[in-house]
């Protein structure tokens, strides 16, 4: 068991190491000089030299990477090159530290993500199990059709439709969510939920149907154990592992969906922050956001794997490569 854990942790460390290398390379092997990108094309050569010095661009790339990682480990991602600049008088100085800039977006995104995820898990389990128990019925079929609709639609199309319905046809909800209040969360959470649930409930349904076919459920039914008890004691525990696996797979979708949904509603989270950092070519911010988004995904997968390992005794005897 310890072997498995160690190997898994090693893999996570390797993935995160590779991730940082990828982020660093992508933001450093750019055509053109970042200092000129910051200062504009007409920058004085002296200023360019100052900025290059400040950004450490004169060092060899490997040294820069090592320095950057060392600083990032101390949560120092450098300073923004677009935000917190002191107007025109100080063009060429560096802005607010990235670590300060990302705190409140991180908090906001954590709120959005945890509310959406909690609702998503509950609804997926409820609807997935319900449709599996009534597979083939009219209710099941219509839920599957609606689910397919949600899978097919991009998040921003779904969100735009919701905005038109709830802000124009029946104006009861705010169309933008510049601040984090319960009423402002309704539409972003709903959009995220609907764009994910089509996929997750389908997969849970398939998983539960598989369990329903197993001998122990059939035997339990033959023994006359009440249906409710079968669902609670037999069905849900064995459907848990595949369900968790589904959420691990869906985590990548979820991260992408968050970016789009936050941007659509103007929600002040890391997704919209990442997009505006990319648009403004604010590389220190881009690096920090990319690592947070990619790292969250890697770690989410890791946690799910560990939970599955502990909830499914069968896996413990398997040799995992």
């Amino acid at each position: 068991m310890i072997n498995y854990l160690l190997r898994r942790i090693g893999l996570v460390a390797a993935s995160i190491g590779a991730l940082t290398a990828l982020v660093f390379l992508a933001t450093n092997l750019l055509p053109g000089n970042p200092a000129i990108a910051i200062l504009g094309k007409d920058a004085k050569p002296e200023k360019v030299l100052i900025i290059q010095e400040a950004l450490g661009l004169n060092e060899p790339i490997l040294t820069r990477y090592v320095n950057w990682i060392g600083n990032a480990l101390q949560l120092d991602f450098g300073r923004s090159v677009t935000q917190g600049l002191d107007g025109f008088s100080n063009v060429g100085t560096l802005g607010t530290p990235v670590s300060e800039l990302i705190i409140s977006p991180l908090k906001n995104s954590a709120i959005l993500a945890s509310v959406s995820l909690a609702l998503l898990i509950i609804l997926t389990l409820l609807i997935g199990t319900y449709t599996a128990l009534r597979a083939g019925s009219k209710v099941d079929k219509s839920i599957q059709v609606v689910g397919l609709l949600f899978i097919a639609l991009p998040e921003f199309v779904l969100g735009a439709i919701l905005i038109v319905i709830f802000c124009f046809v029946i104006p009861i909800l705010p169309a933008v969510s510049f601040t984090v209040t319960p009423i402002n969360l309704v539409l972003p959470v709903t959009t995220l939920l609907l764009s994910m649930i089509g996929v997750t409930m389908r997969l849970v349904r398939v998983g539960v149907i598989e369990v329903l076919k197993t001998n122990f459920v059939i035997t339990a039914r033959l023994r006359g154990i009440p249906e409710r008890r079968i669902i609670r004691k037999y069905l849900l525990p064995s459907a848990l592992a595949p369900t968790l696996q589904i959420f691990a797979i869906a985590a990548g979708l979820f991260v992408g969906g968050m970016v789009v949904v936050e941007y659509l509603f103007g929600y002040p989270g890391i997704g919209s922050g990442f997009v505006s950092a990319v648009a403004g070519r604010d590389y220190p911010l881009v690096q920090a956001y990319a690592i947070i988004l990619g790292g969250t995904y890697v770690i989410a997968n890791f946690i799910v794997d560990i939970i599955i390992y502990f909830t499914n005794p069968k896996l413990r005897s398997l040799r995992l490569s």
Binding site: I161, P171, G252, G256
Partner: protein
């Protein structure tokens, strides 16, 4: 159209929907009543005579912008898929053929790339290289390549160990001959099913990037971009995004319907690719 007669109704409906949207996106520009870049009147003007969908965020004709806005995204999606898939196919076969260190190195690289959420990886590449047609194609290929590679690699394993490959080797056939003539055929069925899932996913990614303002750049018109540009005024003139929203919806639902119908025919339905 002989093969269509054997397919289910949902497949036929789906294919019709897809063909309809494809023809709108390809031929739409010939029917645009106004210059899509011309400033006509007040921004977000509600529909009036001659402008059935009103004006957009810059006071341009919504209908004309919609009609010319379907081309680039579809071209980028298809090119980005094709490049990525061809490279993935080649490297996958090469990796399985070579075995050993080459195989494990390539696999490791592909796992690292898959470890990145698709949209985040594309945004990162756009941040590095700036949004342009070929950068988007490259970014999309980078997303598709490792996923196709993984699929090809796992599908080709059995063929690599088969006796007919052994025979070909002892016959002294070349590397490429064995890769493409001997191993590739067994990879094709899953490869094609995967294409059916990955092409719509690619369209979705490109549309999302455009929506985020980091895909096709204004003043060029694009469906995702139209929705993005008008999103803050949906409560004033919601009709300005009606056509792109409907088209993207019809296109994606059409593709899914067609695939669903085709999959029902298969004995071993292949799982929905959702990464």
């Amino acid at each position: 159209m002989n093969f269509l007669s054997k397919t289910s109704i949902s497949t036929r409906v789906g294919i019709t929907m897809v063909l309809f949207i494809l023809s709108v996106s390809i031929f739409g520009s010939f029917f645009a009543p106004y210059d899509p870049d011309e400033f006509i009147g007040e921004a977000f003007a509600v529909p009036y005579e001659g402008f059935p969908f009103g004006l957009d965020s810059y006071g341009r004709d919504s209908l004309s912008r919609f009609l010319v806005g379907g081309r680039y995204a579809l071209m980028i999606s298809i090119l980005g898929y094709l490049f990525g898939a061809m490279m993935g196919l080649f490297l996958g076969l090469f990796s399985v053929y070579s075995r050993g260190k080459i195989d494990s190195t390539l696999t490791w690289f592909s796992e690292v790339l898959i470890g990145f959420p698709s949209l985040v990886l594309m945004l990162l590449l756009v941040a590095a290289l700036g949004p342009s047609f070929w950068v988007l194609v490259l970014a999309l290929s980078t997303v598709n390549l490792p996923r196709v590679f993984r699929l090809v690699r796992s599908a080709a394993q059995v063929a690599r160990e088969s006796s007919y490959v052994e025979v070909a080797e002892s016959r002294g056939e070349g590397k490429l001959f064995i890769m493409f003539r001997e191993i590739r055929p067994s990879v094709m069925p899953p490869f094609l099913v995967d294409a059916g899932v990955r092409i719509p996913a690619s369209i979705l990614l490109v549309a999302s990037l455009s929506f985020l303002g980091l895909g096709i750049q204004p003043p060029a018109s694009d469906w995702g971009l139209i929705i993005s540009e008008n999103r803050m005024a949906l409560t004033i003139n919601p009709l300005s995004i009606a056509l792109p929203v409907l088209s993207l919806a019809i296109l994606m639902i059409g593709i899914n319907l067609a695939l669903d119908g085709l999959q029902e025919k298969r004995k071993d339905p292949i799982k929905l690719g959702i990464e």
